[in-house]
């Protein structure tokens, strides 16, 4: 249950990752901090020599941006930090504080002796002349004997009153909570004993939502590749100091914890939750996987949708390729290319009542008459574009909405686009009528059109964010003649358009479901 080996492992595989995976570029890292958006770029920091820094222009493609300690006087933790802990740098977390940034990091010594240090900087951009980190000294520490291992800091600003809180700890002893001074980033009441809030976990961080404080921690073992049992668990409390109970009422200080995210698919061992709130009802969370099977089993960053259900956060999944119905939450009607639909299986009446083999009459008197055997019931094949597209216009076609009837012009194939850029957690997608190259596009009038073929132009690239309620926001990468972001919007039951996203409305919320 320790992380002694993490730094060594990271040094081996950083820079070796190629191809398109959960995130693109170089997302290989362990124990990532909260992903933070600063001056239009995304930054994240991780365990490793000097605290590796990573930057992304769009949240999808990541690159190394040196190490934090390169900008720290002396190139290593401050002397008091080293004295309280050791000369290592693990598992940082970061928060904006006015015009500065507070970066907390673990400086472990012989475990469980450790300290959490503070670094203070004005900018995250290594290219800025103001880029430097100043040592803020140790904030909390563990002496190697007490029931605490002062690593894995997680910081929360309480939105109800602006207070600042730090959780920390690992499997040796408790997860602890202290209050910080929002102005200095240091402890507000250093004379007070930290509050024990959980046990048997690490990588703790709190978030606030709808009157509740949620404590998210990581259970299980790390640093063993595909043999790591890391999983993210949580409890909640009405008070920032706890007690944090899980969904079954078990206190996290007695080992409770509702599962938030476990291993799934090609990703083993999620840990180190971080909240990335993009506003407008779009929340993401970051984590690392101990082993990404698609990247040779190394540890990588991922960013995924954060949903809320029954008062608990739910780990969403990034959108995946497929063929879908795109249904308006506002109207229940489905997006379609505006061509005359053809009933699936051809036009036919509803047939006799009673189903196959039932008498066709409706209670006629007299003895039952012999009935001819009903025709055999055969399935009707799904309708595809090849069956019905002969009369579709060859040029651009309008877009509208209609009751979904499983028709070809209502089925959209959504495909990630290589080298088209992306957004936090995902590449952009193209949206085409299934079985064709007819591509959904934004027009210079901020309306919609289906073009005969996909060209890769920005107005044909689509961002699909899952909102916290599980519905989707669909936005073109760019709209000609428009400066602000616009979202697919149901302005009427039969009429889609592009409009500014409003989180308080169902106009721009869509269900994307298998047809």
């Amino acid at each position: 249950m320790s992380k002694f080996r993490c730094g060594v492992a990271i040094a081996v595989w950083l820079g070796l990752l190629t191809g398109a995976f959960a995130l693109d570029g170089a997302p290989g890292m362990h124990d990532p901090s909260t992903v933070i958006l600063a001056d239009g770029k995304f930054y994240v920091y991780a365990t490793g020599n000097g605290l590796p820094a990573f930057v992304s222009d769009d949240g999808w493609t990541w690159r190394r941006a040196g190490s934090v300690m390169q900008a720290v006087p002396g190139g290593r933790p401050g002397p008091d930090v080293i004295a309280r802990g050791g000369n290592n740098s693990w598992a940082p977390d970061i928060i904006r504080a006015g015009d500065r940034y507070f970066l907390y990091y673990a400086a472990p010594g012989p475990q469980p002796k450790a300290a959490i240090g503070l670094l203070i900087g004005k900018t995250l951009d290594p290219a800025s002349p103001d880029y430097k980190w100043e040592d803020g000294g140790p904030i909390v520490w563990s002496d190697g004997v007490e029931d605490s291992n002062a690593i894995d800091p997680g910081v929360l600003r309480d939105p109800t009153n602006g207070s600042l809180w730090l959780t920390y700890g690992s499997y040796f002893g408790y997860i602890r909570l202290v209050e910080l001074d929002p102005k200095t980033g240091k402890r507000l009441h250093p004379e007070r004993k930290p509050v024990n809030i959980a046990i048997n976990s690490e990588a703790s961080v709190m978030i606030f939502h709808d009157g509740w404080y949620y404590l998210l921690v990581t259970h299980g073992s790390c640093c063993a590749g595909g043999n790591s049992s890391y999983n993210i668990r949580m409890g909640r409390s009405k008070k920032v100091t706890g007690p944090f109970l899980d969904n079954m009422g078990v206190d996290m200080i007695e080992g409770g914890g509702k599962l938030f995210a476990g291993s799934n698919g090609r990703h083993i061992g999620p840990g180190h939750f971080g909240l990335l709130d993009l506003g407008d009802g779009v929340q993401k969370f970051s984590c690392h996987y101990e082993s990404d099977l698609d990247r040779g089993g190394v540890s990588v960053l991922d960013i995924r949708p954060l949903l809320w259900r029954d008062g608990w956060p739910v780990a969403g999944d990034n959108f995946t390729a497929g063929t879908y119905e795109i249904q308006s939450v506002r109207t229940g009607t489905a997006l379609e290319m505006a061509v005359q639909g053809v009933p699936v299986g051809g036009a036919r009446g509803r047939g006799g009542r009673g189903g196959a083999g039932a008498p066709g009459g409706r209670g006629e008197p007299g003895a039952p008459q012999p009935q001819p055997p009903p025709p055999p019931v055969t399935p009707i094949a799904a309708q595809d574009a090849a069956q019905v597209s002969a009369n579709w216009p060859s040029g651009p076609v309008d877009v509208r909405m209609a009751p979904y009837m499983v028709q070809a012009q209502q089925k959209w194939t959504i495909t990630p686009v290589t080298d088209g850029g992306g957004y936090p957690g995902s590449p952009f997608f193209k949206i085409t009528i299934a079985g064709t190259e007819r591509a959904l596009a934004a027009t210079p009038e901020s309306e919609l059109v289906v073009l005969p073929a996909f060209t890769g132009a920005p107005e044909q690239l689509w961002r699909i964010d899952q909102l916290t309620d599980g519905t989707y926001r669909v936005m073109p990468k760019a709209v000609p003649n428009s400066t602000g972001p616009l979202a697919l919007s149901a302005v009427g039951s039969s009429s889609p358009t592009l409009a500014k996203f409003r989180a308080d409305s169902d106009r721009q919320r869509w269900l994307i479901v298998t047809p």
């Binding site: 061509v339 005359q340 302005v491 039969s494 009429s495």
Partner: protein
């Protein structure tokens, strides 16, 4: 309101009987008007603001034209785009104007609806006209005090319908459907300062038939400050829409 409806009944009945006597006298007795149309009254003379939700409540409506009961996109486009009477895509009629469609003489009626929608079944039934397998033409003139960009015409209709603003086709909704507020919504348009002509063709196959229409602003709220201004009393040569 009751007095108004009774007067409208009388008016509609008179028009129906007179029309029938001219057109049908040699072949059959004109059907007597029924009535009253419970949701319609004769249009007033003062400009009429939309209701609080922005719905246009004053229209000139032509008595129904019998058509085939087809409601698909192509069928409705074909039915509506057929020329039934001169200048059918540009005329701004007056109350009482008549047109000849085949061997029928049909009259325009200026009506105010007391609801958000215009009930075409009430309209036709009161005149003892068919309500099924019919095409209705409706025209209104919206006076705008200024040029208003980024507005949308938002309509609902039972059943299929095609809509024009100042001669530009802006909405088409098809198939058998009920009137739903803001069902068909145009792309962003500009209301010009002064009169703006809204024209609709509604095709009904059977049962109830009605429509509703309003203008929405850039925030999808009803456009304020506009009024419907019909020249309801003038007789003579119908005006033409200037595109």
């Amino acid at each position: 309101m009751k007095t108004g409806r009774n007067a409208f009944l009388t008016l509609l009945a008179t028009v129906a009987i007179l029309s029938g006597s001219v057109l049908l006298g040699a072949r059959q007795q004109p059907a007597a008007a029924r009535g009253p149309a419970p949701s319609l009254v004769p249009a007033g003379s003062a400009p009429k603001a939309p209701d609080a939700a922005g719905f246009l409540q004053r229209w000139l409506i032509l008595e129904p034209i019998r058509v085939a009961p087809q409601l698909t996109d192509t069928a409705v486009q074909a039915v509506v785009k057929k020329e039934y009477f001169p200048n059918q895509f540009t005329v701004i009629p007056h109350d009482g104007d008549k047109v000849s469609v085949g061997d029928e003489s049909l009259s325009w009626h200026a009506v105010d609806t007391i609801a958000y929608n215009v009930n075409l079944f009430h309209f036709a039934y009161a005149l003892n006209k068919p309500t099924s397998n019919v095409l209705f033409w409706a025209v209104t003139v919206v006076e705008s005090p200024r040029e208003i960009p980024n507005v949308r015409l938002a309509i609902g209709s039972n059943a299929a319908s095609i809509w024009w603003l100042n001669g530009q086709e802006v909405i088409g909704i098809y198939n058998d459907r009920q009137t739903v507020i803001d069902d068909g919504v145009s792309k962003r348009l500009t209301l010009k300062k002064g009169p703006n002509v809204v024209r609709a063709a509604i095709v009904n196959a059977g049962g109830a038939t009605d429509f509703c229409a309003r203008f929405l602003d850039g925030d999808d709220n009803p456009v304020k400050g506009i009024v419907v201004k019909l020249d309801t009393n003038a007789k003579g040569a119908p005006a033409q829409e200037h595109r």
